[in-house]
Structures are given as structure tokens and as C-alpha cells.
């Protein structure tokens, strides 16, 4: 993808010269970790970008660079975007945190927004989805659907977001099925369909019959479909890959946030914040709930969704014990957003240790 980044960079450089003469459109840049065609995480960010462009109808111009590796390459790509006249840059993966911060310091006039991280500065805010809300509903469904009382979770990297979601999944599953166990496999990648398939099969070989994934390709759903098991889609609607296995997909929708922030920066009212969006902001939704689910499961899914959406139920409400016997959330307390961003424990009942 180096060539592509370079071309984008050159194109943008050429664009700056031309734009200064004409009426300046507001320029927004996006950095993606995967390909826009992953039908998962990056695909949804790009859908948000397209909606942003449509919404402002010519007043906003967007560029994106896809397949950007987390690390030194990211810094180069973000610098290029900043240099070439973008007023606002969204970097959309956890591993872009430090590169974004570094570039933000060098370009104080450009606004930066980083997804899923926790470092902010004068001109850099963060935004994140309450993916754990989706996981909680997924966990309820998985706990009710499993016949072997074993559900499987394909993890990418052991970062707080993923750990938190594993906890949400397991607490939810246990709330409807006290016997349930969870098996966790880390694939060390956000996107590797082959490896995700291997992980799905390895889990199913060990008795898992409902799969959840925190990786971005639809491969685990296909693996589950082949073996007559169940799986829950991640980030975008993945139902077409597994008509029978698919329970529902927890779908991301970034457009409302992208539109809001762009408007704020254009108006000069922008303040860097730590923004969290979930069911109640319609930034997360349950897509294509399968008609083949038993009625009681379907009813429970709808009920849990409504309870979380209305704010009546918050998944991380105490008392919660970790798997070493410490109280991590005292009775009556619900984790604040800051605390949610720092979850580094497994809840009671998960027998694994968090990899270090």
C-alpha cells in the first residue's frame, strides 16, 4: 500500500496549490487500518466518510488512506495528510494513538480525532463506540443458544477495549446460563481471514458452538455456517455470509459523529473530548436478527437491547468481582467512561489469564 499512500500524498500536495486560489472546501482526511472492502471495521468507517461527504454536499472534501500499518508508517501517512491541507483528520485504529499524538503536536492548526484511544491534547480528541453494549446483547444470545455451554471468543489484541468486551460477553452469557464457559483465542491481527478461520475451527474442535469475534473479517461466520454452529457478526451486517449460522451483527455507524465533529470544527466551536457513542446515539445497532432464532431468545435480545438503549441497564454495574477474587466494581457503582477505558481484568468465571 506504500505506492497508494504515496499517490494520495502527491495528489493532495497538488491539490493544495490549486485549492488556495479557489474557494477552499473544508478538507477531512481518514486513516484506516484495513482495506475499505473488509466488510467490517474499516468498511464502516468509510461508509461514515461517504455519508459525511454527502451530508455537506460539496462543502466538505474527504480523502482516505487504507491498509495503513500501525506504527511508524502511520505517522508518515498522518503527517502527509496534515501537510497537504486537511483541516480535520480521523485516525481509526487503536495503534494509531501515539503517531496521531505526535503529529498533532507538530500541526497545532489541524484538528485530530483518534478512535478507541485514550490520549488527548489541545487539538486531539478521542471517540469510541460502546461496543460492550453490543457484546452484552451478543452474550445474552450466545448464553441462551449454546448447547455445549461453551462459547468462543476470537480476540485480536489484548487491549482494554477487547478485554472489556470479553467481560461484557461473559457476564451477559452467565446471566442467562449459569453453566456457561468461555474459551478465548487471540489471533494477533485485526484482519486475516485465514487465521480467523483457523481460530474458529480450533474453538469449535474444542466444543464451542457459538462464536463471537473481535476481528474484522466475516471468515468465522463462514466457518460456523459450514459446521452448523452459530456466530455473531462484527462491525457491519455480515448476515449474507452465513444465512443459518448468523444470529445478528452488531453494526457500527460512525456517520452521526463524523458529521457532528466536522460541523463543530467548521464553526470553530470544537473542543477535544472523549466521546462515547452506543445504542442510544444510534451509533450501534443490531442488524439482520435471524428469523430462525427461537422466540424466547429473540424476545430476550429485544428486551436487553431496549434496556441498554434507554439507559435503564448499564452492563458494568457492581458488584463485579474479577477472576482473582478482588472486587473491581463496588455494589451500586457503574463504571465511568474513564474507568471503562482502563479495564484490565477478567470477570469471575473466566479461567484464562490476560496475556501480557
Amino acid at each position: 500500500m506504500k505506492l497508494k499512500s504515496l499517490l494520495v500524498g502527491l495528489g493532495l500536495l497538488a491539490g493544495v496549490g490549486a485549492a488556495q486560489a479557489a474557494d477552499d472546501p473544508f478538507k477531512v482526511g481518514f486513516v484506516y487500518v484495513g482495506p475499505v472492502g473488509d466488510l467490517g471495521w474499516s468498511y464502516e468507517h468509510d461508509r461514515g466518510r461517504q455519508e459525511l461527504e454527502q451530508f455537506f454536499d460539496g462543502k466538505v472534501e474527504t480523502t482516505f488512506v487504507e491498509n495503513v500499518p500501525e506504527g511508524a508508517d502511520a505517522e508518515r501517512v498522518i503527517t502527509q495528510l496534515a501537510k497537504s491541507g486537511n483541516d480535520l483528520i480521523f485516525s481509526t485504529s487503536f495503534g494509531f494513538m501515539n503517531p496521531t499524538l505526535k503529529v498533532a503536536k507538530r500541526f497545532p492548526k489541524v484538528t485530530f480525532e483518534h478512535a478507541t484511544g485514550y490520549k488527548r491534547s489541545k487539538n486531539m480528541g478521542t471517540y469510541v463506540l460502546r461496543t460492550y453494549e453490543g457484546r452484552y446483547v451478543s452474550g445474552v444470545a450466545a448464553g441462551m443458544l449454546t448447547e455445549t455451554n461453551t462459547i468462543g471468543y476470537i480476540g485480536s489484541f489484548p487491549i482494554p477495549e477487547v478485554i472489556r468486551d470479553i467481560n461484557a460477553t461473559y457476564m451477559a452469557a452467565k446471566s442467562v446460563n449459569p453453566e456457561v464457559k468461555i474459551k478465548i483465542v487471540w489471533v494477533n491481527s485485526w484482519y486475516d481471514p485465514g487465521k480467523e478461520t483457523d481460530a474458529a475451527n480450533a474453538l469449535m474442535d474444542q466444543g464451542v458452538d457459538v462464536l463471537l469475534q473481535h476481528t474484522d473479517s466475516p471468515a468465522p461466520l463462514i466457518a460456523a455456517e459450514k459446521r452448523g454452529m452459530r456466530a455473531i457478526g462484527q462491525a457491519s451486517d455480515q448476515s449474507s455470509f452465513a444465512p443459518n449460522a448468523h444470529v445478528f451483527s452488531v453494526r457500527d455507524d460512525w456517520a452521526p459523529y463524523y458529521i457532528k465533529v466536522t460541523q463543530e470544527v467548521m464553526d470553530g466551536t470544537y473542543e477535544p473530548k472523549d466521546f462515547w457513542g452506543g445504542f442510544s446515539e444510534d451509533m450501534l445497532s443490531l442488524a439482520s436478527i435471524n428469523d430462525n432464532l427461537p422466540d424466547d431468545v429473540r424476545a430476550k435480545i429485544d428486551e436487553t437491547y431496549e434496556q441498554i438503549k434507554s439507559g435503564e441497564f448499564k452492563p458494568f454495574t457492581g458488584p463485579i468481582m474479577d477472576n482473582k477474587g478482588n472486587v473491581v466494581v463496588p455494589a451500586g457503582h457503574s463504571l465511568t467512561d474513564t474507568e471503562l477505558a482502563q479495564v484490565n481484568w477478567y470477570v469471575e468465571g473466566i479461567t484464562d489469564a490476560i496475556p501480557r
Binding site: 473488509d38 466488510l39 449474507s240
Partner: protein
């Protein structure tokens, strides 16, 4: 670990190793004639997308295989023309082929993203597949797995026991001498490059038709590069390539299975396992007294111009 799980793991290891085997076999022949083609990942992706589209359009996975091999050959011809005819740098051209294939496959595949096909069904070999453990591990795969093994045996035989194999070796070791005794060096290299292309296409088709029957961008996720490394570690020997591919498959599966069993080893370390294990074994195998045999084909990466003497 119970016997069922071991069976499943070995079964999965063979499946995981198969795409690497296809590509590494093709590249080994290509390199034996002195041509280094780093475009494997690009050809593989093109094979994956064209194979998937052909299978999707015709409803016949066999057509997918044919389509994938043809596009692989076509891609390799572009490479062949540049490096063999025009004498372009093989490394740079190969890298360009990978970038080209990655982009082009994403472009032409956009219309089939989100579709699925049935792909190949497993083919249980009668009697043999009923042997306990071994039957499941070796004889209940999809047809492409058997094809890979048959091809490996055939290629091994041709490379080591036949006149064709000698010709390939002569061209790779000393193209000028080969030229002097009347071997058409460029023709041999063209054929080898196209063979490599067809095999890379086949490896790609295995990914999109069997392994994960779908098409998404960049779905091979670096397997073309692993296969390239495998050829070197196997010191260009067909037997070692077979072993290396399956070993790599086994180690990649093991690290997932061990995690599922609750081993709390860093997944980063476990993820290194396939690479480390494969390299270590290949180095040990490679360190024998016939060192001369293990060296790379002597003209590897060098263009051949019959008007110039070495």
C-alpha cells in the same frame, strides 16, 4: 489433549499448509531456472478473486480453479516479459507485481464482496478414510489437498529424476553453458515462470474456494511471502518444501489450540511459533554434508542475455 482433538489439529494443519505448498512448489521450480519472482502475493490474490468470480458465475468450483490458474499464468507473463525480454530487475518487478495484483484484485472483486459459494466438498477416499485417526487426518480432505500432494510428488520426480529436471537445473546453474549446448534458456524460463504463476493462482483459489469460501480484499494476508521464505529455508528441495509447509500449518494451528485450552503464554510469542519452528527445523535439515547441493541456483535473480558471455 484427547485423541479427537489431536486428529482435528493434524487435519487442520494439512489444510493450513496446503496453500503455502502450492505457491512454494511453483516458486521453487521458477527459482530453479534462475528467476526470482516476488510477485507471489499479487498473483495469489488475482487467483483468489478470479477463481471466486468464475466459480460464482458458473456455479462450478472446477471452473474457478481453471480461471485462477489462467489468471496466474497471465500475471506471470507480464512479469516474464519485463524480466526475461526486457531484462528488468527481478526484485523490483516482482514487488511491483505484488502491488499491482493487490490493487487490481480489490478493484475487480468489488462486485462479489459479500457473496458466498459452496466451494468444494470433502472427498472421503473409500476404505482409507475409515482408518482411525490417520483416515481423518489424511484421507477426508477436499480434492485440492490431494491435488497438492500429487503435484508435489510429480514435481519432485520431474525435478530430480528426469531430463526436464536436468534442463531446469542447467538453466538455473549456468545459463550460458546451457545456451551453448542448445537449450533455449529464455523459453525454459518463460515456462517455469508461467508454471509458478499457475501454482500461485491455484494457491489463491484454494483460499477463496476452500479455505474461506468468499472474497474480501487482501484475503491472503501475506501467505505469498511466507511461501517465498519457505522455498529458501527448504533449500529448494521439494521434499523439504512439503515438510515445511505442513509444519508451518501445524505450528499455526497449535498456537490457537493451546490458547483455547487455556495456556496463558503471550499470544505474541505463540504467534511467532510457526516461523521459529519452521526456520529451526529447516536449518537443522539443511546443515548436512552435501552443502553444495543446498546452495541457491547460481544464476538466481540475474537476467540472461545470450549476446553476452558470463
Amino acid at each position: 489433549m484427547d485423541i479427537d482433538l489431536i486428529t482435528q489439529v493434524l487435519f487442520a494443519a494439512i489444510k493450513t499448509g496446503t496453500p503455502l505448498l502450492f505457491i512454494a512448489l511453483g516458486e521453487a521450480i521458477c527459482e530453479k531456472t534462475g528467476v526470482l519472482n516476488l510477485g507471489q502475493e499479487g498473483m495469489m490474490l488475482m487467483g483468489a478473486v478470479v477463481g471466486f468470480m468464475a466459480a460464482y458465475a458458473t456455479g462450478n468450483a472446477g471452473m474457478g480453479i481453471i480461471g485462477a490458474m489462467l489468471i496466474g499464468m497471465l500475471m506471470s507473463l507480464i512479469f516474464g516479459f519485463l524480466v526475461l525480454h526486457l531484462g528488468a530487475n527481478q526484485v523490483a518487478t516482482g514487488l511491483a507485481l505484488t502491488i499491482f495484483g493487490t490493487g487490481l484484485s480489490a478493484f475487480i472483486g468489488a462486485s462479489v464482496v459479500g457473496h458466498t459459494i459452496t466451494g468444494f466438498q470433502p472427498l472421503n477416499i473409500p476404505l482409507l478414510s475409515e482408518i482411525p485417526v490417520l483416515g481423518k487426518v489424511l484421507f477426508s480432505h477436499d480434492p485440492l489437498v490431494y491435488l497438492a500432494i500429487v503435484l508435489a510428488i510429480l514435481i519432485g520426480f520431474v525435478a530430480n529424476k528426469t531430463r526436464v529436471g536436468l534442463t531446469i537445473k542447467a538453466v538455473g546453474e549456468n545459463p550460458h553453458a546451457a545456451n551453448a549446448i542448445g537449450i533455449k534458456v529464455l523459453k525454459v524460463r518463460y515456462l517455469a515462470v508461467m508454471f509458478g504463476g499457475a501454482m500461485a493462482g491455484l494457491g489463491g483459489a484454494y483460499m477463496s474456494l476452500v479455505y474461506t469460501p468468499m472474497w474480501v480484499e487482501n484475503m491472503t494476508a501475506g501467505r505469498g511471502w511466507i511461501a517465498l521464505a519457505l522455498v529458501v529455508f527448504a533449500s529448494w528441495r521439494i521434499g523439504n518444501i512439503v515438510l515445511g509447509a505442513y509444519l508451518f500449518g501445524l505450528a499455526s494451528i497449535m498456537h490457537l489450540v493451546l490458547q483455547g485450552m487455556g495456556w496463558s503464554i503471550s499470544p505474541n510469542l505463540l504467534a511467532m511459533l510457526p516461523y521459529v519452528a519452521t526456520i529451526v527445523v529447516m536449518v537443522i535439515i539443511g546443515a548436512d554434508k552435501y552443502k553444495e547441493k543446498l546452495l541457491a541456483p547460481r544464476s538466481l535473480g540475474k537476467p540472461f542475455d545470450p549476446r553476452q558471455m558470463a
